[in-house]
Every structure is written in C-alpha cells, then in structure tokens.
C-alpha cells in the first residue's frame, strides 16, 4: 500500500554513524558518505547528488554500494547489495533497517516489516527500526503506528523524522493541536525538517488560511521539494477535499516533474472525480517510470476494465454499470436515485450543482481499488465529492448487502460534502449517512451487532469529540463498525431531541470549519462531555436491556440452536421468544426469528410463521431465503399483495434472482399492476435466462395488457423465435391478431 509516497523518497541521515561505528575501515572510492549524498538531494542539488550516489556504487563495502544504487534508482541492484551486506555483517542491525526502508519505499511492506523486526532482535533499542515499523503500520492505518513512533522518539529524542511522522498521524486523526506541536518539535531538532513545514502548511490549508509562509520556507531549503506539496495534498484528500488535493498534487509535480508518486496520486484522485483520460496519462507515466505500487497497477487495470462498462446520463445523474448487468440494474438504480434526490433536495434544502455519478462494480476487487489507501471500511460504497462508487448487489453473496440502503448512505455524503464544501468531520457525515438509511426505510440501516453490544458493555464508545479516531485508526478490531453505529445513533438522538433541522444547522456550522466540541456547544447548548453523558443515557434506554442481557443471550442462543437441531419445536418456540426478547435486533445467522418460523411451519402453524417472519423483516432481517419463504406463506394464506410487497423489498437486497422477478411479475400481473409486472418481467429477460421463451412471453403479455402493443409484439416474436411451439405464446399471438382484426373492422 502506498499511503505516504513522500516518505519513501526520504533518506534518513543516520548512516554516518553506521559508517563510523560499524563499517570502520571501509574504503569509499570517492570519499563520499551516504549522508553527503542525502544532504545534496535534500537541498535540491540533484545532479550533484546523482554523482555522489554513483560514486558510492563503486565502493568496496556492499552496504555503501547498496546506498549508492538505491540513490541512483537502481533498486534491484541495491537489494542485491543489501543482501550481500547483511551476509557479510549479520549482526549489524542498521543494514537491516536501511534494507527495510528500501523495501518500504519499493512497496514491499511485508519484507520491510520483517527486516525491521530482525533489526530489533539484534538491537532492541534501535530507534530507526521502530520508526520503520511505524511507517509500515501507518500505511495500513494501524494504531500501532503511534505506539512505534512514540517508542522511536523515546529511544532517540533527536529523531526529528519521528516527530514529523507523529505530526502526520495526529493530523490524520484530526488532532491539529498535537500535529502542530509535533511539527514544531521536529523543527526545533532540525530547522530544515521539510515535512514538519509541510504539516504546518497542511494545517493552514485545512483551516482555509494561507500556507504560503510555510511553503516559502520549504522552497528556501529545497525549491524542488514536491513531496511537501504532496503531503499537503494527502491531508486534503484525507479530509475529502479532492479538488483541493488535486491542485496540490499538481503543484507537487510542478516543483518536481519526476515525482512519480504524486503523478500516481493525481491520476487516482482525478479518477475519483469521474475523469478517465488524464488519470490514465498520469498513471501510465508513473508506471512507465517504475512507480508500480499496488494502487497504481490496480487502478490502471480498473481503467482498462472500463471498456466493459456502459454509462447512462439522465438529468442530474450519470450511472455507470457493467454491461452484463446494466439492463437488469438500471431501472432499479434510476428509480432509487430519483427518490433519493427528491428526498434530499427537500430535506437538505439544496440541489446539487452538477450531476452525480454512481459507479456500480460487480467485482468487489474493482470497487476495492477505488478505496485503496483510504482509511475506514470502504466495504460497500465510497463517495468522492459527486462520484459514488459501490459494490453491485452481485458483488456479494445474497443477503450480505442492501444496495439501496448503501446508495442512500453514499448519496447523503454527496449532499453533505457539497453543503459543507467538503469541510465536515468524518464522524458527522458517516453518522448522518447511517441515520438516513433508517430514515429512508426503517428496516435498513445498522442494527446493534454483538460487536457493538460488547463495545457498549465494555464502555468503549468514544466521546463525540474524539469519534473521528474510531473511523481512522481503530484501537480494537471492529471499532470502525462500532463507530459507524455510534455516529448513526448520535444523529438519531439529535433528531429525536432537537429536531431534524438541528442536524441541518450542524451541517452549516461544520461548513464554517467549526470544530466538533464548539458545534455541540453552540448548536445543542451542551458541553461535549455533558452531551456524551446524556447520549449514553438515551442509548441505554433503547439498548440497555440488550446490553444487560448479552451474556445470558449468548448462552440462550446456543441452547436454542441445539433445540432447533434436535427438532424440539415446542422448546424452540418457547425459548425463541425469550431469546428474541433479550436481543430483538439480532437478525444475523442463527437468529431466533428464523428458528421460530421453521418451528411454526413444522407444527403446521403458517399464520404464526408469517407473523414471526414479518417481525424479522420489520426489524431488519434480510436473509433472502427467509423473506422468500415469507412471501410464499403470505401468498398461500391468500395475501398476494403482501407477498408482492415482501418480494419487492427483496429487490433492494438481491435483485440478481430470476425466480424473484418471475414471482413478483406474476403477482403484479394478477393484480393488474402492469407497470410493475413489466419491470419485473423485463428483469427476467435482462438476466438472460435459459428459458428465454417464457421470459419474453411474460414480458409480451404484460406489455399487451398495459396497452403497449408494439413492445408486446417484439417480445412475443422473441419468445416464439426461441420456441416456435410454445403454446401460451402462440395463443397470445392469435389473440393479438384477433385484436388487430377487430380494430381494423371497427375502423371500417
């Protein structure tokens, strides 16, 4: 992963000590030491630095040769020389650290991590090794980055790079005060700490102040230090200010046209804004010049795959779907986008200034490319300004994913980012987006999962002022998910207590760059700590019972599974009720609802089965087989309208199901809801079923019933072309012919 390309290009000034202490007596052909070369490079004297590194390549000592080859960009040979150097001096930790840094720079964090750890085995107090581990951890947004950086600073208080890294991490965590202090600390140690200056510049830009003074300081040390601008760009992108980030990547390239990492990032971020031509150009340039990290390579592959996509522009929306599933998904996405935009236009009292682009990826790996190098889950959807990228419903096993819910979530981001000009804390925009899912449809949105229950039980919810941290650098597994839940519930709470307009007021306050504690104070009239306390009391009223019963529930559900396995249906029904009461929101695998429904069916009580499955659906259960069973039972019990409604809800979960569309089409056709029947039968045709004849016939009869004769004829012909002897289609053909004759006669 290449999250911090700037850090790769940096060379640390510590090898002089190595040369003296560990490599005493080594002959250097030209007399130059690596630090001399690094210093030349740091000050922008590239040609001289190049010569200096070249001179090292002919040194007798393999370690120096490694530094030389590394400096000249011959990474393969540098790697070879490091291998020789380590073999020659196996006890030397420093060579391993430098080799690890090379690996880190060349996109191989696994080997880098191993080398830093090996160095620590040789020298447990090696600050550089800890610093290396921090760099690797920081790439993956691992909380250990802070721990390793702190350790490096403790072991070597003069290691200004560690302070720079800490400033960088703190700024990612939205802790600008600490970031500022750490950057200052680095500058105290080294007045030429360029990244510390860049962090200061980034803080200024993030606060809509001029960074010029800091950028000028950077230029005074090194006028070609593009990495400084790139670091500012990184933080702007991190704060979802993509256009501003792009502007700084351009400045980085202007300062250093050979800063391939910045070109790659420029390409990736332009793609995030929906562009394709310039991104390809920039990414190819980076790739062709050897900058081939995972992000660059995969993004180029994704660009290549765009030939398999088709784009539909309509009104204020651009929908990008893979060709194979575009006929199926388009009607559903179009309708849902319209519903979303109508709702949000009213709710947020605004209209989007430009079209919004929604990209739907059936291959999760393609979608994952769009979220590489970003913090958080990015599991289902991601929003870049006015571009939304998301998994297709076909990208996940059925039932794991409510695509429409995700679309509402991401579209909320589009509005909030626009309303705030991309100046909104992560916790608030995520919380509001989660809140909107349930607002759109009560059975959508996040339910309280066992992970969240455990977090509440262990008092791990974060204060609102620190909630961003839970999204960016989690302290424990699943903290990101817990933070989504918490942020969503905070927005529920605010709406319930202060009204929906208060959420909008908060949006406007954030747009003015007001910090979370101040927004809480100004808009809600509470100190943040007081707010936290009252929110927890409110939350406890809602889920306190679930939390209190959690351990008991765990034991009970285990027993329930056993009873169900042994077909003890009476016990399942009795215990199921109790399990459900203890934790009503549990709708995941092995939930009481489904066990109870099966028990009811086994006992022949279909009405009770419908009741329990309806409760399951209402509370957020979305296992397709269970909902299909509910629809079948509803139909059996003479409620076709309810059956149709249940099946229609499945369209928002897993529309890639031929049987679903056939059944729903039939139900709506029988109810004379021909528009709906046409949509469903068209979905069957779009799925390219083996049985084309009946699929086309159904669509033809729905069109015919709706009075759309031309379309009916086309589809009927397609049906009979596939199966000329298909009786129902033959009958419809004769019926249509008769109707034609009748019309002609009437016209005479």
């Amino acid at each position: 992963m290449n999250r911090r390309p700037t850090r790769r290009a940096k060379q640390l000034f510590f090898c002089a000590a190595v040369c003296v202490a560990c490599l005493a007596g080594a002959h250097i052909a030209s007399g130059a030491a690596p630090d001399d070369c690094h210093a030349l490079r740091k000050h922008g004297h590239r040609a001289e630095a190049q010569k200096c590194y070249e001179s090292l390549t002919s040194a007798r000592d393999p370690y120096l040769r490694a530094e030389g080859y590394w400096g000249t960009g011959n990474y393969q040979e540098a790697n070879n020389q490091f291998r020789i150097a380590v073999a020659a001096s196996p006890a030397n930790p420093v060579i391993r650290v430098r080799w690890g840094r090379l690996m880190h720079e060349r996109f191989n964090n696994t080997d880098a991590d191993g080398l830093f750890k090996e160095a620590l085995e040789k020298d447990p107090k090696n600050a550089q090794a800890y610093y290396g581990l921090a760099l690797v951890s920081a790439d993956g947004f691992d909380n250990k980055a802070i721990e390793f950086t702190t350790k490096a600073m403790e072991l070597d208080p003069k290691l200004y790079e560690a302070h720079e890294l800490m400033a960088d991490l703190m700024l990612e965590d939205s802790d600008q005060a600490k970031a500022f202090a750490e950057a200052d600390e680095a500058l105290k140690i080294s007045p030429e700490a360029l990244d510390a200056m860049a962090i200061h510049a980034a803080i200024e830009v993030l606060n809509d102040r001029s960074p010029d003074a800091w950028l000028e300081k950077i230029r005074q040390v090194n006028p070609t230090y593009g990495e400084g601008y790139a670091l500012v760009a990184h933080h702007l992108v991190f704060n979802r200010r993509y256009e501003d980030g792009i502007a700084y990547y351009r400045k980085a390239i202007e300062a250093d046209p050979q800063l391939w990492s910045a070109r790659a990032q420029l390409g990736i971020n332009l793609m995030r804004l929906g562009q394709e031509d310039e991104p390809r150009k920039q990414l190819e340039m980076a790739y062709n010049n050897g900058y081939r990290n995972e992000e660059t390579v995969n993004t180029l592959r994704l660009l290549d795959s765009y030939k398999n996509f088709v784009t539909f522009k309509e009104g204020n929306t651009i929908l990008k779907l893979q060709k194979k599933e575009s006929d199926l998904l388009r009607p559903y996405y179009d309708a849902e986008l319209k519903r979303i935009m109508d709702t949000y236009n009213k709710k947020y009292k605004m209209a989007l200034p430009g079209p919004v682009q929604v990209e739907v990826y059936p291959d999760h790996e393609d979608f994952a490319v769009r979220t590489m190098g970003m913090p958080g889950l990015g599991a289902l959807g991601v929003t870049f300004g006015e571009v939304v990228a998301m998994d297709s419903p076909s990208g996940r096993p059925p039932g794991q994913f409510l695509w429409a819910s995700t679309l509402w979530h991401e579209m909320s981001h589009v509005y909030i980012l626009t309303a705030t000009n991309h100046r909104v804390p992560r916790w608030f925009t995520e919380g509001l987006a989660v809140h909107e899912e349930t607002e759109a449809s009560p059975e959508w949105g996040d339910r309280i999962t066992p992970d969240v229950v455990a977090a509440i039980q262990e008092k791990k919810l974060l204060p609102v002022a620190d909630l961003d941290r839970g999204f960016i650098r989690p302290d424990y597994p699943n903290q990101v998910l817990v933070s989504y839940y918490q942020a969503g519930r905070i927005c529920d709470y605010i709406q319930e207590r202060w009204g929906a307009d208060k959420l909008l007021d908060m949006v406007h306050s954030f747009a003015k760059l007001t910090k979370t504690p101040d927004v809480i104070r100004q808009e809600l009239g509470l100190a943040p700590e007081e707010f936290d306390k009252e929110f927890l009391l409110w939350l406890d009223k809602d889920v306190g019972q679930t939390v209190a019963n959690f351990d008991k529930w765990r034991a009970a559900v285990k027993d329930l599974v056993e009873q169900a396995k042994n077909k003890n249906y009476d016990a399942v029904l009795k215990q199921g009720e109790e399990v459900r009461r203890m934790y009503p929101d549990y709708v995941y695998p092995a939930n009481a609802y489904e066990f109870m429904a099966q028990a009811n069916i086994a006992k022949g009580d279909k009405k009770a089965a419908v009741a329990i499955l309806a409760a399951y659906e209402k509370i957020g259960g979305h296992n397709p087989p269970a909902l299909k069973q509910l629809a079948s039972l509803e139909e059996e019990l003479g409620n076709p309208a309810e059956a149709a409604a249940t099946l229609d809800r499945l369209n928002y979960i897993f529309p890639e199901d031929e049987e679903l569309h056939r059944r729903l089409g039939d139900l709506w056709f029988a109810e004379k809801k021909f528009t709906g029947a046409i949509r469903e039968y068209a979905a069957v045709v779009a799925l390219q079923p083996l049985d084309k004849a009946s699929a086309q016939y159904n669509l033809a009869r729905a069109y015919f019933a709706a009075g759309q004769k031309d379309q009916a004829e086309d589809h009927l012909l397609a049906s009979l072309e596939a199966a000329p002897d298909y009786r129902p289609a033959q009958k419809l053909l004769l019926q249509m012919k008769d109707s034609d004759e009748g019309n002609k006669n009437e016209g005479k």
């Binding site: 059925p398 004849a693 009946s694 033959q730 004769l734």
Partner: protein
C-alpha cells in the same frame, strides 16, 4: 444455435420413441449427509422417470443395493433386452476418484472403473445412449466412456476436480422445472438438461462467492474432447439435442391420431421453414426477417390451434 444446427441435419427430438431404459445409481456416500443426499436425488429421478413414461424400464440403486454386482447384472440384462432403436440412460450420483489413469465410481464393496463400465455399456445394442456421470472426478471417466452414438456428460472437466459436486442436484431440478425445456416442445433433451444443470451449478458458486470446483462437460461425437459449451462451433451437442431424456407433455399423443396426421405434417413443414429462416437470419434484412418469421409463426400457431381442437 443448436436448434439451427439440428434443423439443418434433419434430426428432431419430436421423433416417436420406444420404451426407454433408465438406470440410476447412488454410490457410496461415506458420510450420512452425503448418503442421504445421494439417495434422495436417485429416488427423485426414479419417480420422475416412472411418472413420465409408464412403459419405461427404470432401475434405481441406492444405499447397500448399489453394488458393482447389481449394476453389472442390470446392465447385462439390458444388453440382452434392449433393441437398437431404444434409448438408454445411465446416471451416476456420488463420489468418484481418479488416479491419473483410471476413474473409479465409489460403490459399497468393490468400486467399478470407467473401463469396466464401458465394457458393460458397449454390449448394450441401444444406438442412442446417454451417460451422465455427476460424481467428483467424473471428467476422468470421459475417455473410457465416449463412443459413437453415446452422449457422455460429466460434472467435472477433468479427473482432477475432486471436490464433491452439486451438479446432480441441478440435473434433477432440470427434469422437474419446465423452464429447462427451452424450446417448449414438451421434451427435456439431454442437451437442455445439461445446459440447465450447468448454468444452475455455475450460479450456485457465483452467488455463494465460492471458487467453482466443478465444470461440467459434454461429449457426443465419440471422438472429440469434451466441451463446456455445446454448439455448432464446438461440433458437440447435436446428438444430445435430439436425445429425449424426459417427456413432459402430451405432444406424442397427437402423433397417434390419424385424423391429425395431415396437420402434423403441415406443422413439421412450418417448423422446418422457421428453422431455415433462423439459419438465414444473418443474411437477411431485419425487417424482412421479422415479416417472414411473424408470418410463419402465425401460420404455425393456427395449425397448432387446429391440432388442439
């Protein structure tokens, strides 16, 4: 594509049929779950074959009766009874193994190898034979089983796909689900059943987001490599398209009514006209094709209406 291919060669699944022979074997499950599953699938097939044609010779082995000896005896008996015009179907459900040279179908007691099966099958005079081997590693049996006039379907591409398969489940579904009859001629051909089961198998792995560990293949020329997709291009599927695995409607009844013979001949003629039109589609203008096809389909519908009276 297959329909066109068939039309051009004049072979039709509408041909009148003699009493078919069906042998289904549910092999050794090894575990209760598999044992139960294999037995259930074989029993379902047994019921389907018997219900579709009361005159059919249906033999089904499950559990401890599914031995090499029983299978050998039954195939020997069919070799004595079956005539060249008869159709013969053998369906194997269960686990198979392949050691790189020899395929074996796992049975209680001694297993039976692909070569041993081939010897038994070669003695059966029925010219039209369908062998559906749905076991794991069944791809390893194709070489031994393929022969002119015989359709061989295997659930796995090669003998090295060794995981338990789901193909058999969908093969049974194909015979239960009218939608497998894609040309709506009320006959589920071997090809239609293969395509249905193959598609459903692929969908199973796709929706479960699991790596597909089986890739069904078909071979019906007796001399080529088995293929994943049977069509005119691959040269496979011609025989399978004309092999009636299961009749699901009353199409055959009309054939026995002399009063309707003229209409049936007319119907056959129009169907051939439609097949020819479809074959020429690429060379025709879209409007002309549509006009001619519509007219022919209307004519066919009218004839069918008369036949149904």
């Amino acid at each position: 594509m297959i329909a066109i291919f068939l039309a051009c060669t004049g072979i039709s699944s509408r041909t009148a049929h003699a009493a078919p022979y069906y042998v289904t074997v549910a092999g050794l499950g090894g575990e209760p779950d598999f044992e139960q599953r294999f037995t259930a699938l074989a029993s379902d097939l047994d019921k389907l074959f018997k219900a579709a044609d009361a005159s059919a010779h249906v033999t089904t082995f499950t559990g401890t009766s599914a031995t090499k000896a029983h299978l050998t005896d039954t195939l020997a008996q069919i070799a004595r009874d079956a005539k060249p015009d008869d159709a013969f179907t053998l369906i194997l459900i269960g686990h198979g193994s392949y050691d790189g040279e020899e395929y074996k179908f796992n049975l209680p007691g001694p297993d039976i190898s692909g070569d041993e099966l081939a010897v038994l099958l070669n003695r059966i005079l029925a010219k039209r034979q369908l062998i559906v081997n749905t076991t794991s590693a069944s791809g390893g049996s194709i070489g031994a089983l393929q022969r002119a006039g015989r359709i061989v379907v295997a659930a796995t591409k090669t003998g090295t796909e060794k995981n338990a398969t789901v193909f058999a489940r969908y093969l049974v579904d194909a015979l239960r689900d009218g939608s497998a009859d894609v040309d709506k001629n009320e006959v589920i051909s071997a090809l239609e059943a293969f395509q249905y089961a193959d598609r459903k198998t692929a969908a199973f792995y796709e929706t479960q987001k699991r790596l597909a560990t089986e890739h069904a293949v078909i071979e019906d020329t007796g001399k080529k490599e088995a293929v994943r997709t049977a069509n005119a291009e691959s040269g496979e599927g011609l025989l399978a398209g004309s092999f009636a695995l299961l009749r699901i409607g009353s199409a055959q009844k009309a054939a026995s009514d002399p009063a309707k013979r003229a209409l049936l001949e007319k119907k056959e003629e129009i169907e051939q006209k439609i097949d020819t039109l479809k074959y020429q589609k690429a060379a025709m203008s879209a409007d002309d094709y549509k006009r001619q096809l519509s007219a022919a389909l209307l004519e066919l519908a009218k004839v069918q209406e008369e036949l149904d009276k």
